[in-house]
């Protein structure tokens, strides 16, 4: 299969590190965390991971181009507020979604423009837009939660499609869409080149600038969709929910094996990475450890993954 070709040839290395990490965590938490292995909990973990999945998928693409998007969490916060506010005002969930996607798209294009046209290093550019998005979130919400939104929004989170929760359906559809995009379209091919050998793209007559802008724009749009899920989950719009989620997304991508240089991306790895991060948070939660420790552990996980990635590329 096409994706399998990305795995190392050495049989010992054939099992990806993320699968091992996930396996270890499942075993450990199964043993020491109360209620971890119950069906209710597992399904809970999966559903809650869907928002992260929406962010981690485009983040994979961005990281493959040797970039980074630190603004995703803040943009998510903003778009979830937009969903709440607009759907409250218009009574329609779909219009709220459309507005959120548009706003997310605008931020994505801004990021792409700053990085590709102006030439500002990605982490600085997205740090700047993070501030802008964060500020706008506080302004449009005036620091308060937005409540009383139409039921149609909340229902998204709890509804099921053929007994599969809608969020999971959305996440799966997104995954399949990104998979097709990355491995079956020209655009996907060019993403590998953006990170692996940008010169080769130029010789082939493609514009790296346009491609980069599109990549970041996709990230923004996905943050818009994730905004719907977030608002649905909380049944309200909150001015700071979602801040910092870009960190989980970057962690999921890094842990999943996508490299920060040379244009190597593995979507399945990101999926496993998302589940790993979700399992880590869930397990620590069940053990009544506060969110802060969860975050610290993820930080350690990222540093570990990066260090190993550095080792791997030097081997």
């Amino acid at each position: 299969m096409r994706e399998a070709a990305a795995l190392p040839a050495n049989p010992l290395q054939r099992i990806p590190g993320v699968a091992i990490m996930l396996g270890v965590l499942v075993v450990v938490f199964g043993a020491i965390a109360p209620g971890f292995l119950s069906t209710a909990n597992i399904s809970n973990v999966l559903v809650q991971s869907t928002i992260l999945m929406m962010l981690a998928l485009p983040m994979t693409l961005i990281i493959m181009t040797e970039g980074l998007d630190l603004s995703m969490g803040a943009v998510l916060t903003l778009t979830s507020l937009i969903v709440a506010i607009v759907s409250l005002a218009t009574g329609s969930m779909l219009i709220g979604l459309a507005a959120a996607v548009l706003v997310g798209l605008a931020f994505g294009i801004a990021n792409g423009w700053l990085v590709a046209v102006v030439g500002i290093p990605p982490f600085v550019a997205t740090l700047g837009t993070l501030g802008v998005a964060q500020g706008l979130s506080l302004i449009v919400s005036d620091g308060q939660s937005v409540v009383g939104i139409p039921h149609s929004v909340r229902d998204i989170y709890s509804a099921t499609l053929f007994t599969v929760p809608v969020p999971i359906v959305m996440a799966l559809v997104s995954y399949l869409a990104f998979h097709a995009l990355l491995y079956h379209t020209r655009f996907g091919t060019y993403i590998f080149a953006l990170g692996g050998n940008r010169e080769a793209l130029k010789y082939a007559g493609r514009s790296p600038t346009r491609l980069l802008i599109i990549v970041y724009a996709i990230g923004g749009a996905m943050a818009g969709v994730a905004g719907l899920l977030m608002t649905a989950r909380m049944n309200s719009g909150h001015p700071t929910a979602g801040l910092g989620l870009e960190f989980d997304a970057i962690a999921a991508v890094a842990v999943g094996g996508t490299s920060f240089e040379r244009g190597n991306g593995w979507l399945l790895g990101t999926l496993l990475g998302v589940v790993t991060v979700g399992v880590l948070r869930n397990g620590l939660n069940l053990m009544a450890l506060p969110s802060s420790i969860q975050v610290a552990s993820i930080g350690v996980l990222v540093i570990l993954a990066l260090f190993l990635d550095g080792l791997r590329s030097r081997l």
Partner: protein
Amino acid sequence: MSMAVQIAEIAHIEPTTAPLFELRGISKEFPGVKALDDVSFSVWPGEVHMLLGENGAGKSSLMKVLCGAYRADSGEFYYKGEKVAIGSAADAQKLGIAVIFQEFSLVPYLDIAQNMFLGREPAGRIPGTIDRRKILGDAKRILDSIGFDIDPSVVVEKLGVAQQQMVEIAKAISQKARILVMDEPTAALSDRESELLFALIARLKADGVAIIYISHRMAEVFAMGDRITVLRDGRRIGEVRPGDASPDQLVRMMVGRTVDMSYPRNFAETPGKIMLEVKGLSAATGISDIDLVVRQGEIVGLCGLVGSGRTEVVRAIFGADEATAGQIIFNGQPTSGGPDQAARLGIALIPESRKTEGLALLRTVGDNLVVSALRKMFPSGLFEPSRAQRAADALVKQLRIATPNTRQTVGLLSGGNQQKVVIGKWLAADAKLFIFDEPTRGIDVGAKSEIFALIDRLVADGAAALMISSEQAEICHVCDRAYVMREGRIVGQLSRAELTEENIVKLGMHHA
């Protein structure tokens, strides 16, 4: 017999009336150096035309002009007898010219088929998608046609260098290349892999593809070439057929020049004491078992072709790269450690790329002059700008560096003066062993003399110098002795008497 028929006979190809591609009077100049000077030559379909020349002869400039990366300043191109222009990579591609450089242009994590058809992928039914079956099929066909049996869905990153080269060739063929330019294709290949490559070249010949083949290896040149053109100093010196010339003759064509070199050099009568001794030095950068000696008062040359490992040797001596084996003994003491250690002991490195490795271009002349001497000048740790300024001014005067003052941004100086700053920085640091890597590259003739006069004074005053240079004439005029390297090892030492350009090239090129 007309030229066309003659060539056709030699190359065993169909005679045609005009060459497939011809260069007439191509010139390309860069500030201070004429890379190509009125070069003319032609290739016929199915011909393997060898291009020979030393470092700096103009081969790589020629390649860049052919593929559209550089634009020629003057001269004309003819394709099948008709005048054409090569202003861009697209123009070159349209003419069917494909250049395979030593550093490949492949995307590591895409597969062979995707690399071959980058930017020209066959479309699937849904717009924007790729027809996987077609791209793999097309790729397989081309790979088979060149005898490369491999699954086109293998990711390129997994392939060895030889295989990646095959992919590059397949890519060129998929672009319907009729003229293939190959730069040292066997440099990274084993003998067996080279055989396969030669078989492929024979196949391409039979198909009427013209091949311009750049090589240093005499054996290949004589075995594979239909015609041989020699370049020197950017000029076309001559063209011969393998049957009509001997390797020695070719060497003489590559090397012989009458140059007015008024480099002052006072050779020491008796050699001074040993300052640097290197025993069995090896490093992961590709050098093995290096033994050499440098004495006080000497300028010792380090010669060899590009890629023979000279820079790697001096970097290992300076501590810039880690040594995996061997000893470096400086003034009787074994040393190890990084460049900071070497600098403290009195070893200096004047690197090959002075702009990226020797200077901080955005800082001032003064800043750059004192940067290595900070600890020696200010042992207490407190930096006195006025004293630094005075020291810098003194150096500018001593070395006659052309700059309005020491506050000038060093990036604005000419090449020769920039080099003087790099040397001056080590003078300020009281260095005793000066290692030069291509000290006069990119410097005009007048400045060159000055630099050599400077080096001469340095060693006369009790220092020692180890010098890498690709200009054999320089080595012969200036050095007391020279070591010659080939493929990471030292293959010989030439004394003052033996130091001739021909000897250097012979030792450096001989490929058993």
